[in-house]
């Protein structure tokens, strides 16, 4: 080790220092920008929660109160004791559960067909699914309303579908949840190499066994992402529920929230309390399932 031949000249140190300082500055700039964006997004949520805890005179005072000075739960009790609250909770839960469940099953099977099988008209169908999502909802409401109201007269289906029926709203939510869900799940399914299923089949699994033991666990994160999307869509939707559900007992939570705004003005305290309550299920659902998203997908299955 006495003589080491130098092959390439070592880089000179001072050249490196200045860009490093500049880079750090730029990084700090991006971080500040990120924090600003975060602030803009978080503030309305904070304001909603803060308002929910303020008594009425604090809410309407001209000097904004950043932190509730006299926190109270009265807004929450008011909101809960408002007429139809529990009806709305029940309706929303029914709608969301059915929409999430149905959309997962239907979308998964449809995506499976699109990703794994070749059939006539597959490509146009895929394009159609994408295209359907470009139609604005507002343009669909009137035709959908007409269709649904006609269904009210069709014997057999009018128990489930039609105007002022939860089933009708569920069907309509599915129409805009499904295309997205199919599209997303198809992507996840395409990410699972077909050799995995084939290998399982050679190893002794049936086609269905390979599907359950290999494919299903691997698209788990896709199912979670899709279910979150479906949940949020169905839970937060307002216009369709507002237009199609007339009877107060059949309203969803979002429509119920709107009832705090009357001709005489808006009852801000209970409204904010109600809104806070309404956002809880979404957060709870997300926390329950989000751990599954982080899982490393198909990493290591095949050399890539």
């Amino acid at each position: 080790m006495s003589s080491v031949t130098q092959i390439a000249p070592t880089p000179v140190a001072p050249v490196v220092t200045r860009p490093r300082g500049r880079r750090r500055l730029r990084k700090a700039g991006w971080n500040v920008l990120g924090l600003l964006v975060l602030l803009v997004m978080v503030f309305p949520v904070y304001w909603m929660v803060a308002t929910a805890f303020k008594p009425g005179h604090d809410i309407l005072s001209y000097t904004p109160q950043w932190v509730p000075a006299h926190p109270t739960l009265s807004n929450f009790t008011d909101a809960i004791h408002t007429q139809y609250f529990w009806d709305a909770v029940k309706n929303s839960l029914i709608i969301v559960t059915v929409v999430v469940g149905l959309s997962l099953v239907l979308a998964f099977l449809a995506a499976l067909a699109l990703a794994k099988f070749r059939f006539y008209g597959r490509k146009p169908f895929i394009v159609l699914i994408l295209g359907v999502q470009m139609v604005p909802l507002a343009a669909l409401i009137i035709p959908l309303y007409i269709m649904m109201s006609r269904l009210n007269d069709v014997k057999g289906v009018n128990h489930v579908l039609g105007v002022d029926k939860l089933g009708g709203v569920i069907a309509m939510y599915l129409t805009f949840v499904l295309p997205f869900a199919v599209w997303t799940l198809r992507g996840f399914l395409l990410g699972v190499p077909k050799e995995l299923e084939e290998s399982a089949m050679v190893d002794g699994a049936t086609r269905f066994g390979a599907f359950v033991r290999i494919l299903l666990p691997l698209v788990g994160p896709g199912l979670v992402a899709t279910s979150i999307f479906a949940f949020i869509q169905a839970w937060n939707e307002f216009i369709i529920a507002y237009v199609f559900l007339h009877t107060p007992q059949k309203q969803t939570l979002m429509v119920w929230l709107a009832s705090f705004t009357t001709l005489r003005g808006t009852d801000w305290g209970p409204l904010m309390a109600g809104a806070t309550l309404c956002s809880l299920p979404v957060i709870v659902f997300f926390l329950l399932v989000q751990r599954r998203i982080a899982f490393g997908l198909t990493a290591g299955a095949v050399k890539g």
């Binding site: 290998s199 050679v202 190893d203 002794g204 699994a205 299955a301 095949v302």
Partner: protein
């Protein structure tokens, strides 16, 4: 363990694209047969038909004495190693190895015993709880092998299992797989596009092209007696030199004209290959292996004048590109074009056409590009092929003894 048989097997995709045409092949019990050919030749399709992952359009595949055409993959009792390993990413190494046993309702204790035995044999014992993502390429390859072995199936099917490894690891795993196969004596059908892999691993090698089986034989006989131009050009690295020549009869003697040079075919050669006489006055394809192209000094044989284009030192020997005046082979559709050198570059003699010969020379020869050189070609070492059909003259069916060429 069992033998594998393809009996007049064909596979047609979408009604009119034939992938495999009338394949007849037998893998004997305990034998290692390599199916080799350029990409798209139908070799993988053939393998997948044995596994049951591809339907058989026509013909019959037998494993042991059972016709398996209609059987589901799991009922065929074979194990397959995929090109990309296909390890289950959500299961750890132990679960991957045990999956096949679990599916076959082997008891938990027996599962554990067999998995641990295989794992220690393959050096995977201390990574049983890792996920495939945490393994290196070579380790994944071993898990894939282990998953096949642990089942103790009737046959192994391997679909290019080494093509995802880097060059060094590939050579290492090549020997390892061959050793495992020898130790277990499991009937193995191995698919690869790499002729070196095929030659080094297989007891017998089956060369396929465009869905047609070209030749099946031991690696050495495949190399020495290629049945046609395609096999001749595909097998061997560097590939056989191929050019066009005319066979001329002069009285009772037969000679072969390469450009300006006339190689007289010795009487015993003609006597051994009487079919050659039938080609008198016709053009044929002539092939010569690079190791049979020799620098003229110290060797017998007809001298051919040429010019050195390029010298590639390989360490133990040197690979010399020599341009000689001769007619290049124009029936490129009969050969494996991927293995052929690009056409002649600078004309040796502008008026004539030139062919680049590859020669494997002793490393001590001092050769300089641009220099004129003389090579010696022994007519006994030439391979002759029909220019129309590409079939060897005499055809491989004619018994040819080894002594003829040496």
């Amino acid at each position: 363990m069992a033998e594998l048989q393809f009996i007049h097997v064909s596979k047609v995709y979408g009604g009119d694209t034939p992938a495999v045409r009338d394949l007849n092949l037998e893998v004997k019990e305990g034998e290692f047969v390599v199916l080799v050919g350029p990409s798209g030749c139908g070799k993988t399709t053939a393998l997948r038909m044995v596994a049951g992952l591809e339907e058989i359009t026509d013909g019959e595949i037998r494993i042991g004495d059972r016709v398996v055409n209609e059987l589901a993959p799991r009922e065929r009792d074979i194990a397959m190693v995929f090109q990309n390993y296909a390890l289950y990413p959500h299961k750890n190494v132990y679960e991957n190895l045990a999956f096949g046993l679990r599916m076959r309702k082997v008891s938990k204790a027996e599962q554990q015993r067999r998995v641990e035995a295989i794992a220690s044999k393959l050096g995977l014992a201390d990574m049983l709880h890792r996920r495939p993502a945490q393994l290196s390429g070579g380790q994944r390859q071993r898990v894939a092998m282990g998953r096949a072995i642990v089942r103790e199936p009737k046959a192994f099917l391997m679909d290019e299992p080494l093509s995802n490894l880097d060059a060094k690891l590939r050579v290492q795993m090549r020997a390892e797989i061959a050793r495992i196969q020898q130790a277990l004596e499991v009937t193995t059908l191995y698919v690869t596009h790499d002729q070196v892999e095929a030659m080094t691993m297989g007891h017998r090698v089956a060369v396929m092209r465009d869905g047609l089986l070209q030749q099946v034989d031991t690696p050495q006989r495949l190399y020495d007696f290629p049945a046609n131009l395609f096999v001749a050009s595909f097998v061997g690295s560097p590939p056989m030199n191929l050019l066009e020549a005319t066979l001329e009869a002069d009285g009772g003697r037969l000679s072969c004209r390469l450009g300006d040079t006339e190689l007289e075919l010795p009487g015993d050669l003609v006597a051994e290959r009487p079919a050659l006489a039938g080609y008198a006055g016709r053009r044929v394809a002539v092939g010569i292996r690079p190791e049979d192209v020799r620098e003229a000094s110290g060797w017998d044989g007809t001298r051919v004048a040429g010019r050195i284009l390029l010298v590639e030192a390989l360490g133990a020997e040197q690979l010399v590109h020599i341009e000689i005046a001769a007619t290049p082979l124009e029936r490129t559709e009969l050969v494996d074009t991927a293995s052929q050198l690009p056409g002649p570059t600078l004309g040796f003699n502008e008026a004539e056409r030139a062919v680049t010969l590859l020669g494997r020379f002793d490393r001590h020869l001092l050769l300089v590009p641009g220099e004129a050189v003389e090579v010696a070609i022994d007519p006994r070492l030439l391979h002759f092929f029909d220019l129309e059909t590409g079939v060897a003259i005499p055809t491989a069916d004619v018994p040819v003894t080894v002594q003829v060429l040496h």
